[in-house]
């Protein structure tokens, strides 16, 4: 049974249901999706609730159709979303490129599972690159938010809708199978962000104004250059204003462990154990994967002697950490292909081993 999300009441809920409920409370008017484990609960919940609320739910014929339906819906200025997982997010890459070019506030939830290819349904963080670098054509960026608790699934779903509209840019919530399936106590609250005015661009019908068109086709070289310059001015703004991260015991740390999403939970308790042993270790978690907290990591590198990045993949975010740190200190990597997060004992061992030389 999915608990009813009454504001201010603590309920035990799966990450997937938390995201779906938060989207509804954020005012999402349309959901389009195609089922895939480990995120099917989002669509399942939406299929009942959206109808009950008189909003739109379409079980699309494919992921390709679903994401293009989102593009159609948000073009009219309403909040709309889709959700999917790894191999099916791959199918949506073309549309994401178009949506950035069209400057549309698409919200997409990606609940990562094992890959490449069909992979498996175990948790994974193997789509960091897919989310932050992307598989669509051209110069573009998605805003990418990575929760690490079920409560944060709610917080960041709210934020995703806000940022998508504020910057007119597709925004992705990057969760994983662990977060999607696990239950934790959460508390709902009302959507905390202001509503963004869409009247200057939305295709709301040309009554009493001239007709508009939203398209990404720019046949003239010069026009496309101007467009891209402006697009990247927007990305500069996003990088200035929206970076978010969490730090844990970094103030006097000689050694910092960096992780995102679910993996950070284990890192935090490993750091706690290391502190009990008298080791000066801290932990750092990018919450926004784009914009990446490069500046903060770079300044941390002035104080610490080594950085260890841990991910449930073969080494993806570690590249961004290395770019941020720019050679100031060694950036080590401890990864695992897929499945259960690297356990706390293994992390403590790894930290102790790597700190040997510090």
């Amino acid at each position: 049974m999915v608990a009813e999300c009454v504001t201010g009441k603590k309920v035990l809920m799966k990450g997937n249901y938390a995201i779906a409920n938060a989207a509804i409370k954020a005012g999402c008017q349309c959901y389009f999706g195609y089922p895939i484990t480990p995120q099917s609960e989002i669509g399942e919940f939406m299929s009942g609730k959206m109808q009950e609320l008189g909003r739109a739910y379409v079980s699309a014929e494919s992921e390709l159709a679903a994401i293009n339906m989102v593009i159609g819906a948000v073009s009219t200025g309403v909040k709309a979303m889709s959700s999917s997982s790894s191999c099916a997010i791959s199918l949506m890459q073309e549309a994401l490129s178009y949506a950035t070019a069209d400057q549309l506030p698409v919200v997409l939830v990606s609940v990562m599972r094992g890959g490449p290819g069909l992979g498996n349904i175990y948790p994974s963080q193997g789509d960091y690159n897919q989310a932050t670098i992307g598989g669509g054509n051209g110069d573009y960026k998605l805003i990418v938010l990575a929760p690490s608790t079920v409560q944060e699934c709610i917080d960041l779903t709210y934020k995703a809708f806000y940022l998508a509209f504020k910057y007119k840019n597709p925004t992705m919530i990057l969760a994983d199978g662990l977060l999607g399936q696990m239950m934790e106590p959460v508390e709902f609250y009302d959507y905390p962000y202001p509503e963004i005015d869409t009247t200057s661009w939305a295709l709301s019908g040309a009554k009493d104004r001239s007709a508009r068109v939203i398209r990404s086709y720019a046949p003239l070289e010069e026009n496309q250059c101007v467009f891209l310059d402006n697009l990247f001015k927007k990305y500069e703004l996003i990088e200035q204003n929206e970076v978010e991260y969490e730090e844990y015991m970094v103030d006097d740390a000689d050694f910092v462990v960096v992780a995102f999403g679910s993996m950070f939970r284990n890192v935090k308790s490993a750091v706690k154990l290391c502190r009990e042993k008298g080791l000066k270790v801290g932990a750092f978690r990018p919450i926004t994967l784009y914009p990446f907290p490069s500046e903060r990591l770079n300044s941390l590198a002035d104080k610490v002697k080594k950085i260890l990045v841990t991910e449930i993949n073969m080494g993806q975010m570690v590249r961004d950490v290395r770019l941020a740190v720019n050679g100031k200190v060694p950036v080590l990597f401890k990864g695992k292909g897929v499945g259960a997060m690297i356990d706390v004992e293994t992390l403590v061992e790894e930290i102790e081993k790597q700190m040997g030389g510090v």
Partner: protein
């Protein structure tokens, strides 16, 4: 201090539901808690388990390979999870469906309870096995009360099945009354 629980059995024995009730009870007691399921692609009959982590502080790791309290409702789960119990921990074994082990560990506590038989004979329905086992767990662990578990039933059982709550409460109480000295 985190306490780890695992409930394991066949798909269809209500393993995930029992875990959900336990996790809700911890939440109602203002503890931090997470619940995480693990199951195959089968609808019924495969093995299934869920892990519950309870803590006074923020819960860190969700999937662990050790637990303080484990309930095993069938033989396959008993075979798999006996080695997962932490030193000094407890394993509650459904002796209706799992044989007493020949080479028992001497650093953990084995609680053999004919869970399926009791559910059938005293509660009139083998479907009561999971909730009855939770009653036994409440007594063994001393970490959750029958009252909190009963309140949790209201959170977990959907409105159209509310009439089943009294029977489930009876199962909890009967489990809690199980004479541990008999084991």
């Amino acid at each position: 201090m985190e306490k780890d629980f695992i409930i394991a059995g066949f798909g269809g024995q209500g393993v995930l539901l029992a875990g959900e009730v336990l996790a809700n009870a911890f939440m109602l007691d203002d503890k931090k808690v997470t619940w995480y399921p693990c199951y195959g692609a089968e609808m019924r009959g495969g093995t299934v388990n869920c892990g519950i982590v309870m803590s006074e502080e923020e819960v860190s790791s969700v999937q662990k390979s050790k637990a303080d309290f484990i309930i095993v409702l069938n033989q396959a789960s008993f075979d798999k999870y006996a080695s997962w119990v932490r030193k000094g921990g407890y394993i509650i074994v459904n002796s209706s469906l799992a044989k007493k082990s020949d080479n028992q560990r001497d650093d953990i506590n084995y609680i053999y309870v004919p869970i399926t038989e009791v559910a059938q004979e005293k509660l009139g329905n083998i479907k009561m096995s999971n909730i009855y086992a939770l009653g036994v767990l409440a007594k063994v662990s001393k970490l959750v009360s029958v009252e909190s578990l009963e309140k949790a039933l209201y959170n977990v059982i959907p409105p159209h099945r509310k009439h089943l709550i009294p029977k489930n409460t009876e199962a909890l109480k009967l489990g809690y009354e199980y004479d541990l000295l008999k084991v």
